[in-house]
């Protein structure tokens, strides 16, 4: 079985060919392509969690009119969302004529340049800035309000019109922010149980389960978690809904009692005595 010369040549050629094929098929030997690293970011939508807005509602037009002798150039019906921008038209002399606001009042002329009566001036910010309760941290900056020496307007700014101008906001209220904080606190605490759950199948992590928790004051669950509804169910993950529900029940039951929830928000309206949140299995 000694190699003849032609066999030796053939063997060499075959070896070269095999090595060439091997290299051709080994993309790993080429410089590795950069890998995309996507670090997950936890995002919580306050609107999703706080199902009811707890921001104070602006006082109605008549009350404002009562308190302020001067009709102010305001947008009466603009709801709380942007209290920051609203003081501006009052403080600036030439506010916003182009705005198609349905302001019933005559146009801003009276107030602007001279600011003659300090007593009349602060009224407009009072009415418009009524949307800026101190409990809402985002509404603070009142940039252009100039000191007038009159505190009446500031007082009015704190009022909640539901009680005709007297401050009615409870010391702790369930704002959207607070609800989001509680929601993420709960999710953080149940995460160890969620990690133990097996993902039922592809697409199951798209299902958002709306789950209602009845919680005792000590953080334990007063009853089994109730599944209120689902979103994100489509044809592909339809069949996993039941298993996702079971997993969610197991997660919340397994990692209660819940610790560290703010005690002062327990029994308030929309407090965490009965807390509804949307939950999603992480993949």
């Amino acid at each position: 079985m000694a190699l003849t010369r032609s066999e030796a040549i053939g063997l060499a050629v075959a070896a070269i060919g095999h090595i060439g094929l091997f290299v051709f098929l080994s993309p790993a030997m080429a410089p590795a392509p950069e890998k995309l690293v996507s670090t997950p970011i936890a995002v919580s939508f306050a609107d999703d969690v706080a199902l009811e807005s707890s921001a104070p509602v602006i006082s109605s037009e008549e009350e404002a009119a009562k308190k302020s002798p001067v009709e102010a150039p305001v947008e009466p019906d603009s709801a709380p969302p942007e209290p920051v921008s609203e003081p501006e038209p009052a403080a600036r002399p030439q506010p916003a004529p182009p705005k198609p606001a349905p302001a019933p009042a005559e146009k801003p002329k009276p107030a602007p340049p001279s600011k003659p009566a300090p007593a009349t001036k602060p009224a407009p910010p009072a009415k418009t800035a009524a949307a800026a309760p101190p409990s809402n941290p985002r509404s603070q900056p009142r940039r252009d309000v100039r000191p007038t020496g009159n505190l009446e307007g500031l007082d009015l700014g704190r009022t909640n019109n539901r009680n005709n101008g007297t401050a009615s906001t409870p010391p702790a209220a369930m704002t959207g922010q607070a609800a989001a904080d509680i929601g993420s606190a709960i999710q953080r605490q149940v995460q160890p149980c969620a990690d133990r759950q097996v993902n039922p199948g592809p697409g199951a992590d798209q299902i958002r389960v709306v789950v209602n928790l009845r919680i005792n004051r000590d953080g334990s669950l007063a009853g089994a978690p109730r599944i209120v509804g689902h979103t994100g169910v489509d044809d592909t993950n339809q069949r996993y809904v039941t298993r996702v529900d079971d997993a969610v029940r197991a997660i919340f039951a397994g990692c209660s009692p819940l610790r560290g929830l703010p005690a002062d928000l327990y029994d308030v309206p929309n407090g965490w005595k009965s807390f509804t949140l949307r939950y999603r299995l992480k993949s």
């Binding site: 032609s6 040549i9 063997l11 890998k35 097996v198």
Partner: protein, 229 residues
């Protein structure tokens, strides 16, 4: 989704080989060596059969043009070609049989036919020496690869049971590495089968040409035997 990328990255032969356990690795190495030797045989056979055919053609032409067999034998017998060896076997036997005082013509013819037939058979044996390896690889390599695959899949099922997780990320690498064994087996077997069939056919044709030449030469010698008588 990230694990799919990494799984795709591990599909290179090196990574598949490194992931496999030692049984599958042994199968892969054996099949790779078989494939190497198969291709060595295929290539060398291509050279050799081509050279043999070319030698036969040129030798037959020279033989037809030659006037004197003894003179042609002196010129051509030393060539390293099957047909030259068959020719010189016939000439050697002829000389041995015709040096005695009394010539047994029938016996001489028989001995000439036997000597040249034996020379042809020996040449064909020498040519076809490596062909059996091609036949073996072609028949056995798929089974060996299949053995590696079955072993690897058994192993990946075991890992499913161990992790209690049937997700694709757990199953896929084991199955890919197992199927790689079958892939190598087929990679070795397919060229071997094709080459075996093709070279068997080529060897048969060479054998027929050698036999025809031997028959013709035998007829020539047989005629001279009658003339000398």
């Amino acid at each position: 989704m990230l694990f799919l990328n990494t799984a795709a990255a591990t599909m290179s032969p090196v990574a598949l080989f490194l992931q496999a356990d030692w049984v599958v690795r042994g199968v892969m190495i054996g099949l790779l060596l078989a494939s190497l030797w198969t291709w060595a045989i295929i290539l060398s056979f291509g050279f050799r059969v081509g050279a043999v055919k070319k030698g036969i053609a040129s030798f037959e032409t020279e033989y037809r043009e030659a006037d004197d067999i003894d003179e042609f034998h002196r010129r051509a017998a030393g060539r390293d070609q099957p047909i030259a060896r068959v020719f010189s076997a016939g000439v050697t036997e002829w000389r041995r049989s015709t040096t005695g005082k009394s010539i047994d013509r029938g016996g001489t013819r028989d001995r000439l036919a036997t000597a040249m037939g034996a020379a042809v058979a020996q040449e064909i044996d020498r040519l076809a020496d490596r062909l059996n390896f091609l036949a073996t690889v072609g028949a056995v390599a798929p089974f060996v690869g299949l053995f590696g695959t079955v072993w690897g899949i058994m192993r990946s099922f075991t890992s499913i049971a161990a992790e209690q997780n049937s997700s694709l990320a757990v199953v896929a690498p084991g199955i890919a590495e197992a199927l790689f064994a079958t892939a190598i087996g087929l990679f070795a077997a397919i060229p071997a089968v094709i080459a075996y069939n093709r070279y068997s056919h080529g060897i048969n044709r060479v054998e027929q040409r050698l036999n025809r030449f031997a028959d013709g030469f035998h007829a020539t010698l047989s005629r001279r035997l009658e003339m000398e008588a």
